[in-house]
């Protein structure tokens, strides 16, 4: 059964505070391949591995039904820095 973006978004927002969330369906519509960019203060003080484990656990049921799942996790501060860097590079 394909997962839809709304279901993913709900599952994430229900569990943690979200500053910014991008969900990209990379499956050309079959719903089995998603990439997310997630900015949350819940990641503060956590290693990347711990953050990914947190999201993996949060989306356990959905990920089990997908072929591929890719994530980028930032704290609000990290994301600001990243955007500043990207803006400077342009």
């Amino acid at each position: 059964m394909p997962i839809d973006i709304v279901a993913l978004e709900k599952a994430i927002k229900r569990a943690i505070p979200v500053t910014h969330l991008e969900i990209e369906d990379q499956s050309s519509g079959c719903g089995e391949n998603y990439a997310i960019v997630l900015v949350s203060e819940a990641f503060q003080g956590k290693t990347t591995l711990a953050r990914h484990r947190m999201i993996n656990d949060l989306l356990k049921d959905q990920i089990a039904q997908m072929h591929a799942f890719s994530q980028k996790t930032y704290t609000p501060k990290q994301y600001e820095e990243l955007q500043a860097k990207e803006a400077a590079a342009e």
């Binding site: 990914h52 993996n56 089990a64 591929a68 799942f69 980028k72």
Partner: protein, 158 residues
């Protein structure tokens, strides 16, 4: 289990697949047996770098596994320090490793028995420079730091 492609294809031939076998396997997936757990434990420690992937380094069967192997090649991880396992050749391994690492996707990478992460983490660490440090600190690749900083100093002083 999981060791080589050859043995697992033999297993496929031997498989008679009555439904009881299937259900006991499913049960085993949910509750990783101590035997499987200890085998995986020694497998991830047997080589400095262990990569569970789809396909082989020369023929990866998935873009994420390809990316993982490319990053390791980029860092010139010596072949004798790297062991890869093709999870597509061994369905039992494919499920077991997910439960063992508590990680839902493939590829998965271990350095000196420590779980590092999947493709996203590996690429992220590569970009930030953490991967190089990790590989250096674990004696997987030689440290370049000294020689490169020396070069810089020489250039600066000359």
């Amino acid at each position: 289990m999981f060791r080589p492609t050859l043995r697992s294809s033999v297993r496929l031939l031997n498989r008679t697949a009555p439904s009881t076998l299937v259900s006991s396997r499913l049960f085993a997936y949910r509750h990783l047996s101590d035997t499987v757990r200890s085998r995986l434990q020694s497998a991830v420690k047997a080589h400095p770098v262990v990569l569970f992937m789809k396909g082989t380094p020369s023929e990866p069967q998935c873009g994420f596994s390809r990316a993982a192997i490319q990053v390791l090649e980029l860092h010139e991880v010596p072949p004798e320090k790297l062991q890869t396992y093709n999870v597509l050749a061994d369905p039992e391994l494919r499920s077991a490793i997910k439960e063992f690492s508590e990680w839902p996707t493939i590829p998965q990478i271990y350095v000196n028995g420590e779980f590092v992460g999947g493709c996203d983490i590996l690429l992220g660490m590569h970009q930030s420079g953490e991967l190089e440090t990790l590989l250096e600190n674990n004696g997987v690749i030689p440290k370049y730091e000294e020689s490169s900083s020396e070069t810089t100093t020489e250039k600066a002083s000359s």
